[in-house]
């Protein structure tokens, strides 16, 4: 179904693991592999650029440069020599979130190899999401958890950085530890959330909800239609006129 629409198009040569195929010029690497006859099991996930299953490396003849991309997001180019790296072994440290602190000590305890970083920047150059990988690793080494979290936020954990790191770091697992430390310990807590949880647990809304559940459809429709709608441009402090059901 996905390949048919493109039949009439111009074909370009690509080399999948060194083997030549001619594929329509507009296809992504992923669809080009399917066009060539592959049924993907590894190396294919969301097909939308977020799951990190389809990390791909490629090169063009006569150039030294290694290019990277997600197969589902990268359009084929003539004469690309490509292979997918659907899996690369990684270290994953086990930790109890309740018992750790947001500090460089935590990062180093769980990933001592962090300190082996050579600052060669190969990780950054290997990232298909254009993340400043080396910079977030540097932030981690400084104990700047907030910066580590912020810089690594778009990471899809495809593992291409890890596959090329001469210091053998597993950057993306260090990053998720950093982000979880940030989310749990560094970012201020949402107090309104904690108080709402308390109110719900005390059963504050029980009766009003049971009331709605027992109501007939006509009454429900009226309640629905007449409910007050928060204006889109309202700020955080907006409150409704009717506070009966708050």
């Amino acid at each position: 179904m996905e390949v048919e629409a493109t039949k009439k198009e111009e074909l370009v040569p690509i080399f999948i693991m060194g083997k030549r195929y001619e594929v329509p010029a507009s296809l992504t690497i992923q669809k080009a592999m399917e066009y060539a006859g592959y049924q993907l099991i590894r190396g294919c996930g969301c097909r939308g650029g977020i799951c990190g299953a389809c990390g791909t490396v490629y090169r063009f003849p006569g150039t030294y440069k290694i290019e990277v991309g997600l197969a589902c997001q990268t359009v084929v180019e003539p004469n690309m020599y490509l292979t997918q790296i659907p899996f690369f072994p990684a270290t994953k440290s086990v930790y109890e979130m309740e018992k750790i602190t947001p500090s460089v000590e935590t990062l180093v305890k769980h990933y001592p190899e962090l300190l082996r970083c050579l600052q060669c920047n190969t990780c950054t150059k290997s990232c298909p999401m254009d993340i400043e990988v080396m910079d977030y690793i540097a932030a981690g080494m400084r104990g700047d958890i907030a910066r580590l979290a912020e810089l690594s936020f778009d990471c899809v954990m495809c593992g291409l950085c890890t596959s090329r790191c001469p210091a053998e770091l597993c950057q993306y697992n260090i990053a998720i530890l950093g982000r979880r430390l940030y989310g749990k310990y560094v970012a201020p807590r949402a107090e309104h959330l904690a108080s709402m949880v308390q109110e719900v647990e005390k059963g504050k809304y029980e009766q009003m909800l049971r009331g709605l559940m027992d109501t007939d459809e006509e009454t429900l429709k009226n309640l629905y239609t007449s409910r007050e709608i928060e204006p889109e441009q309202a700020d955080e402090n907006w409150t409704p006129k009717d506070k009966t059901y708050l």
């Binding site: 179904m1 390949v3 048919e4 507009s26 399917e34 066009y35 006859g37 049924q39 099991i41 590894r42 294919c44 996930g45 969301c46 097909r47 939308g48 977020i50 799951c51 299953a53 997001q73 994953k92 979130m97 999401m129 936020f153 778009d154 998720i176 530890l177 982000r179 979880r180 940030y182 989310g183 970012a187 201020p188 807590r189 949402a190 107090e191 309104h192 959330l193 108080s195 709402m196 949880v197 719900v200 809304y205 009003m208 909800l209 709605l212 559940m213 459809e217 429900l220 429709k221 629905y224 239609t225 409910r227 007050e228 928060e230 889109e232 441009q233 955080e236 409704p240 059901y245 708050l246």
Partner: protein, 557 residues
Amino acid sequence: MPYTSELKQLIKKVEATRAARVEAKRRGEEFPLLTLKEREERLKKYHPDFKEGSRKEIRVGPNKGYSISPEIVHILEAKSRVNPDVIDLNKIAYETDVLILGGGGAGTAAALTAQENGVQVLIATKLRHGDANTMMAEGGIQGATKGTKDSPYYHYLDVLGGGHFKNIPELAYTLVTEAPKVLAWLENLGCMLTKLPEGQLKSLHGGGTCRKRMHYAADITGAEIMRTLRDEARNRPEDIKVLEFSPAVELILNEHGHCAGAVLYNLETEEYFVVKAKAVIMATGGSGRLHIQGFMTTNHYGATGDGLIMGYRAGVRVCFLHTVQYHPTGAVFPEQAEGLLITEKFRGAGANVLNIDGEQFVNEREPRDVESASFIRECDEVGKGIPTPTGKVGIWLDSPMIDILMGEGAVKREFPGKFILFKRFGIDISKEPMLVYPTLHYQNGGLEYNSLCETSVPGFFATGEVSGGVHGENRLMGNSLLDVTVFGRIAGVSASRYAKEKAKEGTLNLDHVRRYHKELEEAGIVTDRVAPMLLPDYSNPNVRERQLTAHYLGTIR
């Protein structure tokens, strides 16, 4: 591919009306919302669910006579991948307390609470752990968390209004009352929800919400939730084991009629093998890859409705499958991004939807089904859609308005994922609008279950998109991430409790599969279709013709 010169010309019409639309928005003037009656008329006339040929009767099983999408009927009226007479159920490859089928948001949340309840968990998943629709959910997760303006009462009303008042009340009640607890749970796990400097969760409207209660993690909310839950599951390796590339193909029952395991298939070595369990949770997700009515889809590669047929064969009824959700805004340009989800959060943040003349024709925040039907009407009947170079048609989504309304840089900051993606194609979505059209998005219905995630088969639990009832006939945005976390956690608790207290040892069998095959035969259904499908068929027909010695079972070689 950047916009063609023709499209760039058309964008000028959008720009021409933009200043006035932004001003109107600032004054709080919105394009009028449809009344309930108008909504109904629009759906009946333009929604794909009501199109001729969009429904077909199921001829076998517990819902015999129920009419749903033919594409789903086809997987229900299909044979098992395994011959019950050939597989040896005495050869048990793995044994566990709780077996979870599916490693997405619901399955992983279930694994965590089951483990906390002191049982051994095995997750079997088709692709990698976390390869699921959860990962792809962008816009947010609903929850009434701001007591000065919102409460579960209003969330409940919105959920029912979106679902055409057909939702199962007890399920909707559970969804809205558990919502704040689940958000607090995620915050405590270290999930990076987007916050104001003092710690309040940022929140926006979604289609059909009366309060801004859609919380988010930039525009990759699902990915942030999924990777956090997965990391946490990986922190408990002694108790939570994961089998990747090993989808379930059949449930196993025992002599008492209780669910007692599943047959799995190793996609790489092509072996079938048996897992014995005290309780089984079905968390296989949705079915967008069935491409209902030929629609493109936002769904994950593995979303082929596997859990529906496995549960149905075991005797569990299905419900609410007569409606399918089309997300109003799937990308139609550039071609490489076709079908890609453009989160509803763009509209929640103020972006108008516009026709070829740069005019509004519907409020951008109607519930999804109404919004989609309105797009289809504007393109097909009114004829004011925007033609794309590949012969498709789309509607403008005016993202640059967001930078004007919220300040320069807002699009890049709030939608980093989509910003980068379109930038790669040579389109700056903070300056140029996006072209969108409805795309197959969500399975509103599914296996029947209750608010404890129990089904009619003892020992068999359902959770997440594979189940049906909580969203009625149409899910609101931000309620699927909520669904998977709320009911995932509940399924884990219920299944682990069952495993500890109620599970009864007994001889394993696949008699339900034999009965189902017999029923197919008696209904005169002669078919070589097999289900679950496992993976969609995107093979090249020319290649297939030359595969002279290949043998396919269903879509799999």
